[in-house]
């Protein structure tokens, strides 16, 4: 056993996860509360022959990792709200060109510069719809450092599996707090490596012709297959096309390759759900609060349970619907104006039983805050 127990910040757990997954290239621009990711990687990446570059802004950072991914590398950038806003156009480019990459957004309060050193979870919908045009996206989150590590590895795996950008939506509290992290052994968590084309040199390679299983083997840019990459709608060779059939086929492919795999992409944790009459749904740092509330209620003999979401997008509709079906009440605990609450409401059969327990003042929601909402719902006043 050479597993190591470390006492780290969440942002370091993310770095460890990325390195475990095989990260080779990072480009970024400093911003609180994500900066530690860049700082640690500037030291760690070159130690293993990887590359780190601090770009002139987040737009450039996002573009640079896409370029580096195309040459055959696993890539990452890390930012927070304002930087995530700047990345949106290039994120759409990665969606359109199907270039794997991972983007960490350690959320802080917004809009605008907002509240840089405090927690929020208000970029959930931005992760989903921040870039223009119809598309699908994968966004993952975590509430503990062990899970930050695991979800970071998952993000790289999913980016390669689905040839897509994957957003890791952490939050300031998880990013900055310290707790133990047990580093898994190499090989303990399976890694997905890039699916490379088996087409030999001199044989026509179609970069955008999906195999029967929908996957697109890649060829490293700068290798033996020359092709075109464009953010315009494109044909199977990667050349621009405005043929309605091609356009329709591509947008369907981009959406379907993710929306048809909601089940495979769904990551979540369940606590005391078997007989739960009141179900809390939460994620990220808020889920720690929610679990505290649930365990407290259980001690009092109350049938409370928690569904902790780790995949936010594509929204795991079936899981949520099933978990909530038998519940009398569903309380969504999150640090925004109800971004996931709205998803839950439109997922369950009776939206009237879904309530929001939130906090939007930059302070982590407390068990007392949640219990107060519970009392209000029960008509017991504050």
């Amino acid at each position: 056993m050479n597993s190591q127990l470390r006492f780290v910040q969440g942002n370091e757990a993310c770095v460890e996860g990325a390195l475990y997954a095989g990260l080779e290239f990072f480009a970024g621009y400093p911003i609180t509360p994500s900066t530690e990711v860049a700082e640690h990687l500037s030291r760690r990446l070159p130690q293993r022959g990887g590359k780190f570059i601090q770009m002139e802004d987040e737009i450039a950072s996002m573009c640079a990792i896409i370029g580096a991914s195309l040459t055959g590398h696993k890539v990452l950038t890390a930012t927070s709200g304002p930087g995530f806003s700047l990345m949106q156009e290039a994120l759409g480019y990665a969606v359109m060109t199907e270039i794997p990459c991972v983007i960490v957004n350690v959320q802080r309060g917004g809009p605008s510069t907002g509240i840089p050193t405090h927690i929020a979870q208000a970029d959930v919908n931005q992760a989903r719809w921040g870039t223009h045009g119809d598309h699908a996206i994968i966004a993952l989150t975590a509430s503990s450092h062990q899970d930050v590590f695991a979800m970071t590895v998952e993000a790289f795996n999913m980016a390669e599996t689905y040839r897509t950008p994957v957003v890791l939506l952490f939050d300031e509290v998880v990013g900055h707090m310290r707790e133990p992290l047990l580093l898994p052994e190499p090989g303990e968590i399976p890694l997905v490596e890039r699916l490379k084309t088996s087409v030999r040199e001199g044989v026509d390679y179609h970069p955008y012709l999906p195999r029967e299983d929908g996957r697109l083997p890649m060829a490293d840019f700068g290798g033996v297959h020359r092709y075109n990459v464009t953010g315009l709608y494109h044909d199977m060779w990667g050349f621009p096309s405005d043929n309605p059939k091609v356009v329709h086929g591509l947008i369907r492919h981009l959406v379907d390759k993710i929306e048809n795999h909601v089940e495979q992409i769904a990551r979540y944790k369940t606590f005391y759900l078997e007989d739960a009459r009141t179900v809390l749904v939460s994620y990220g740092a808020s889920a720690r609060t929610a679990l505290h509330v649930v365990e407290g209620q259980r001690k009092r003999g109350q049938k409370y349970g928690l569904l902790e979401l780790q995949t936010l997008w594509p929204f795991p509709t079936e899981v949520v619907a099933e978990v909530c079906a038998k519940a009398e009440r569903v309380i969504v605990v999150e640090m925004n104006m109800g971004q996931i609450c709205r998803e839950v409401q439109r997922t369950v059969r009776d939206p009237g039983k879904v309530f929001l327990a939130n906090r939007i003042d930059g302070v982590l929601i407390t068990p007392t805050d949640v219990r107060q909402v519970l009392r209000l719902i029960a008509g017991q006043g504050v």
Partner: protein, 269 residues
């Protein structure tokens, strides 16, 4: 390899207007590469968005058509992750110096080895003739119907100030210079800039009553001169052509290799 082997012939005729100068830049570029005897697999072309950026569709290299203004940022990721590649980045004047101005100066400052080709037609061609940061004071554009009060950049001076280590300028009238300068720029180990004045008869020419492509080419002939020529001394109004700067400075990827060595040694110790 014959020049035409560097082209993707199935995409011709090209999309540029008759008389557009951008095709001449393509011509110069493939001649430069042919003279250098480079293999198609070692060249990556990264372009932005604009009429100029469509050049990447016509060459049989590894080609990436990116976002308006961001070509150099994508190219930086490609080059740093695979330094053995030759990276060529053609951009329009708006692409390179308006929306992409920040990436331009920072790529120059880093001195990362790649060749930036600024296809300067002093207008936003693709979007239909709005003024660019290179249009210059007193010109007319669809967004400057009275007159343009924006001052222009001097691309060569800007590039040098930003830290580019090879800086040259010519025009599409001077076809051989285009090929020659691009050739030298590709060979240069550092960030190289070649500004090629190109004509957009459709918008810049028409709005500014400069005549057709022939008259615009004649204008390039009459209004430019070689750096250090007698004509330049006599008439400072003339635009100078040639190599403004060619310097040796540590190249970014080479420097990063040293960081890797240092970090690996420190990790072992």
């Amino acid at each position: 390899m014959a020049v035409k082997d560097y082209l993707r012939e199935r995409f011709f005729p090209h999309m540029w207007c008759p008389g557009c100068g951008h095709g001449t830049v393509l011509n110069g570029l493939v001649h430069a590469i042919e003279k250098l005897g480079m293999s198609k697999n070692e060249i990556v072309m990264v372009s932005g968005i604009g009429c100029s950026s469509r050049i990447s569709g016509y060459v049989d290299f590894h080609t990436m058509h990116t976002l308006h203004g961001r070509a150099l940022a994508f190219a930086t990721g490609i080059k740093l992750s695979k330094p053995e590649l030759n990276v060529i980045v053609p951009m329009g004047d708006g692409d390179a110096l308006a929306i992409g101005g920040n990436h331009f100066i920072h790529a120059a400052r880093r001195n990362i080895a790649m060749t930036a080709l600024v296809m300067n037609n002093r207008i936003y061609g693709m979007t239909g003739g709005q003024y660019s940061p290179l249009s210059g004071y007193g010109t007319i554009a669809t967004t400057a119907p009275y007159t343009n009060i924006d001052q222009g950049f001097d691309v060569a001076a800007l590039s040098m100030a930003a830290g580019a280590t090879f800086v040259a300028r010519t025009t599409v009238y001077h076809v051989h210079e285009v090929a020659d300068l691009i050739q030298q720029a590709i060979l240069h180990d550092g960030f190289s800039v070649v500004e090629v004045l190109s004509q957009c008869p459709t918008y810049f020419g028409r709005h500014n009553r400069l005549g057709g492509p022939v008259e615009m080419l004649q204008w390039f002939k009459d209004n430019t001169t070689r750096i250090g020529s007698k004509a330049a001394a006599e008439n400072p109004e003339l635009i100078q052509r040639g190599i403004f700067m060619q310097a040796d400075k540590p190249e970014y990827c080479t420097e990063y290799d040293k960081i890797v060595e240092q970090a690996m040694a420190a990790a072992k110790a």
